[in-house]
Structure formats: structure tokens, C-alpha cells
Amino acid sequence: MQCEEVREYLADRLAGSLSDRLSGAVHSYVRTHMLSCPECCDEMEHFEEIQTVLRSIPLEPCDSNAMHARFDLLMGAKKTKEPLIPAVRRRPRTRPLKIFLSIVVATAVLAFAVPGVRQVRSWISATREAPPVPSETAKPAVATVRSDKIAPPVVPSEMANVSGRVFLEDGSDISDAPSLGEIAMSPVGSSGSTAATIVKLDANGRFSRSFAAGEYRFRVAVFSQDFVIRSISAGAADLLKENLTVSGDSPIAVEIRVAGRSDIGTGRILGTVVDGVTNAPSQADRVVLCCFASEPAERVSTPVRPDGTFEFIGVPSGQYTAELRGTTNLVVANPALNVTSAGVSGVKLFSASQLVTIDVNLRLDTGDRLPYKPDTSIVFTGTNETFRVVASSIVGSLFRASVPANSTYAVTVSNIAAGYAIQSIVDGRMTDLMNGGLFTAPASTGASARIVITLSRN
């Protein structure tokens, strides 16, 4: 596959059409090409980063009440054939004042001329003191005052807007789902359901409501059976486990990630991620699982708990690669994960800020090639005795492993073919790794190392 074809794939993916046209065979080609082409790989990583960060840019909530009021005014103006001049148009500065005065005068005249005038009079005085969220009778005048310049949202300073959206695993929005459900927020410490504020999700999975400052329990009270909730988060807060803190100074964007019920796998992954050198819980914030069979770039992530444990649910069976995300750049020394339909537990991932790739060659003491394809087990064990990776067979008698840089490892070799024995195990510095010697992984960036295992015939 050529770079041009991969770029076409990227263009499709950016334009959101990949799942419609990319076959499984092309997935495989793209992945193969990416492994050997740093430019395409970089480009894909750039776009993935851009897409991730774009999604994290918050959407400042609109003042829904004011927008509805202004729309009602537009409809009212339409009925009376008075064209409403949109707010974005420039108009002489005196016109809004004239309109305002004429409406106030007209309303006042009307108020004094018809029965039941007291309520209208009191409304006029109320709007002069502090314009409220417009009632049915108040809408036209309030909206006209606002028509040239929108006033800030009518949200008291001790309140903040909480808005949110429901979206699918691939980041796409829900659309045209009229009975999606509703969310509930109840102040922490309150009892019973009466204290909960219920907000309906609209057909596109959005909601927005202002809440007084405080700590709330956020939950999805009712939800469509067509979907399963995967995560609920507000920034870094996992709302499936944590409370939501509303402060008076900033809006909050809640993200509810769901999966279609038919897309749910049965596999569950339980594991821990620890520092490969110290064995302490990793500094990583999230574990990312890549990639689903449906699309090479599709990923799902889960938070790493303070004790280093993590859990994925509903993962279809298959081969995956684990990645890490967080404030510090961390990589996984043993990223391969094989998930069966029943799931997998006891996974232990080792994180490191930098890995060293070690190529291990098996050869005969005569200098000849091995006359068979070795099925040898080559294990690197950290000096803390918890880090342990098995080298993978690459081709012929070449094996490869990745270990955290700037640390030392014992090398254990077993499963040598009958009739052969290990004569020596040495690294590039000629360290004898067979008799208690430790392999030292260099610390330099992009470092690689080599170990030679020499066999002899019995």
C-alpha cells in the first residue's frame, strides 16, 4: 500500500466515512503500512491528537431561556407582520430606544384601558427593576429590549450551568432519539428522590440546566434500552464513581459515552498497571485499548485508579494493544492483550517513560545458523522481580523484547531443543548474562540493544 492510498484512507476517516467503505483487508494493509512508514504514522497520530483535543474544547452553554424568548418574539412579529430586524444587523442607535419606549407607552396605555390592570402594571415596574426570565405576557417587551444586544444569561452568580451530551463509542452524536431518557442530579446529603432535579435528554442526547453551587450525585435516571452506558465524565471526574462539584464560576460539560446494545461484547478486562522499574502504581491517567476489528483507529479507554487497577467491560474478544494516556508520556512494555469471549483478568501492564528494544539472536558456536526454528523462551526479569516480559519470535532465530530503560534485568533462557546446550549469553558490552550477570538497559533515547545466545551441540 502506498502513502497516497493511506492518505486517502486518512481523508476518509477525517471525513467520517471510513466505516462505510473500508474493508477488513484494507484495515490490515493500513496497519502494515503504518508500521513501516513514519510519515504516515506521524500524520495519523497528529490527526488523532487533533481530534482528541477538539473534543475536549468545551462548548459554552447558550442561554436557552433567552433564545426561546427571542424565537417567540420572532414568531409573534411574524404573526403581526412586523418584520423583526435580527440582532446582528447594524441599526441607528436611537431605534431600540424608540421601540422600547413605544412598547412601554403602548403597554401602559393598554394596561390602564382594560380591566385587570394591576397585574400588568406590576409587571411593568418589575421589568424596570430587574428583568426576569420572560413569562408568556412579558416575552415581547423583554425580547425587544434585548434585540440589539443580548444581555448576559440570567444566572445568579452562585449558580453554574451543567450541560452534557450523549455520544457513541466512536464519538458520534445520538440523533433523532426522542425518548432517550433523563438525568437526575441530587445534592449530596439529601435523602429520597424529591431532592433530585430531573432533566430530560433531547432527541440529540443533549441537556442543559443551571444548578446552585454544591456537590451533587449525578446519575442517568432513565435511559433507552437500545444503549448501554460505558462512562460518564466531567473533565477528569468519573461520575460513575465520584460526585459532581458545581462551583459558581464555570460551566460544566458532562459527557455520557454509550454503546449500542448490539455492539456490546461480553469480555471484561481486569488488571493493574504499574511502573516497570519501581512496581508502584503507574502515573498514567487512563489505559487505552486499541484497536477494535471494526476500525483500526477505534479505541476505548478507562481510568487508572489510584492503586493502579483498571477495568474494561463489554470488550469483544480479539487481540488488542494497550496504550497509556496521562500528563506524562508513558508507554507499555507488554502491550499485547488477548481477550477471550469470557474476558481476561489478572492483566499486569508495566509502564515506563522510555523503552529499550532488545534483539536477541540465537546462533551455533560453529557460526552456522540453527538448523531448526527455535521455540525458545527468553524472559527478562527486573531486579525488583515483578517486571517480567517474554521476548517474541520475530523471524528465524531472532527474538525481540522491550524493557524500561535505565534499569537492570536478569535473562532466563529455557526450552532449548534436545541435543543442544547453552554455551554463553552475552550482551553488546560482553557482559556474561549466564552466570548471575545482569543486562543493563541503556537510558538514551531510541536506544536498542543486542544479546547473543550461543548454543553448542551436546
Binding site: G16, L59, L84
Partner: protein, 168 residues
């Protein structure tokens, strides 16, 4: 008209004089219109004004809606025009105050997005925030589908370059 009527049938009714049906269209589409304008301008008040302006234009130009066309494409064509007109009139006002915002990646990228030329910015917004397919973008911009893909790709590359530059 039933609440689950299609956008197209509602708009056809509005065109024929049942302007009350516009309310359903407003309920359905004002959040995504607001998001479009907010992503384009970074300014909440301007975005709210622009949403209002779009519905004003829908009423004013309702006769131009054609039955064979999709309402959403027509709606966003109006939205693009409304944004373009505002941008032309208030060039010095928008986009608003994200200069120097380098606190985090999101702030930097928001700044980069607002610095993108308008025609590229809207491609990023349509493809990344509204998940529009190449077919939809092509229909909206009245271009061929391969051209839509290429333009989205270029817009994202430009955004990446700007983002890198601003990230220092």
C-alpha cells in the same frame, strides 16, 4: 402536524404558510446551530444572535426551500451565509479573545481553530463536531464528494500546523 414529522415536511408546511411549524424546527436544530456558530466564533452572545438570525432568514426566504432538497443542508447553507455576513461586517470584532491562551492543549487548539481561514474552519467544524459525512459536506458546499474529502484533509493539516506553531 405530528411531532415526529420530518424536517422537510415541516419546512414545506412553513413555506405554505404554517409558520407555527417552525417552532418544532427551532426545538430540533437550535442546539446544533448554536454549536456551529460557537465553534466558528468562540463567542456565545454572537452565536445566540446568529441562531436568531438564521430563523429570521428561514422565514424570510422560506420560498427558496425546495422539496427535493434536504432541510439540514439548506439550514446550514443559511447558517454559513449568516456567519459570513456577520464576519464581513464585524471583521475586527470576531473571533474573540483567545489570543495568548496557551494554558493547555484545548485552549491552544481553540485559538488555532479560530485563526484558521473561515472556509477551512467550517470544514473542521462540520466534519469533527457535526460528524457530517463527505456526501453531506459535498451537498452543503455544492462540490464533488472527493473534493470534500480533500478539503477536510487539508483543513485538518492546516489546523495541525497552526496548532504546532501556537504550541511553540
Amino acid at each position: 402536524m405530528p411531532r415526529n414529522s420530518t424536517d422537510e415536511s415541516l419546512m414545506a408546511a412553513v413555506r405554505e404558510g404554517a409558520s407555527g411549524e417552525l417552532e418544532t424546527l427551532f426545538e430540533r436544530h437550535h442546539p446544533e446551530l448554536y454549536e456551529f456558530f460557537f465553534r466558528m466564533t468562540g463567542d456565545r452572545a454572537a452565536s445566540e444572535n446568529l441562531v436568531q438570525d438564521v430563523f429570521y432568514r428561514i422565514l424570510k426566504y422560506r420560498d427558496t426551500f425546495r422539496d427535493e432538497g434536504r432541510f439540514k443542508s439548506w439550514l446550514f447553507r443559511i447558517a454559513r451565509n449568516a456567519h459570513h455576513d456577520l464576519f464581513r461586517k464585524h471583521r475586527t470584532v470576531l473571533p474573540s479573545g483567545t489570543e495568548g491562551a496557551r494554558k493547555d492543549k484545548a485552549a491552544t487548539l481553540r485559538c488555532a481553530l479560530l485563526k484558521l481561514p473561515e472556509d477551512r474552519r467550517e470544514l473542521v467544524v462540520f466534519s469533527q463536531y457535526h460528524q457530517m459525512t463527505p456526501d453531506e459536506i459535498a451537498e452543503l458546499l455544492d462540490i464533488e464528494i472527493p473534493a470534500a474529502k480533500v478539503r477536510v484533509h487539508r483543513a485538518m493539516m492546516d489546523l495541525w500546523d497552526l496548532y504546532r506553531t501556537l504550541s511553540g
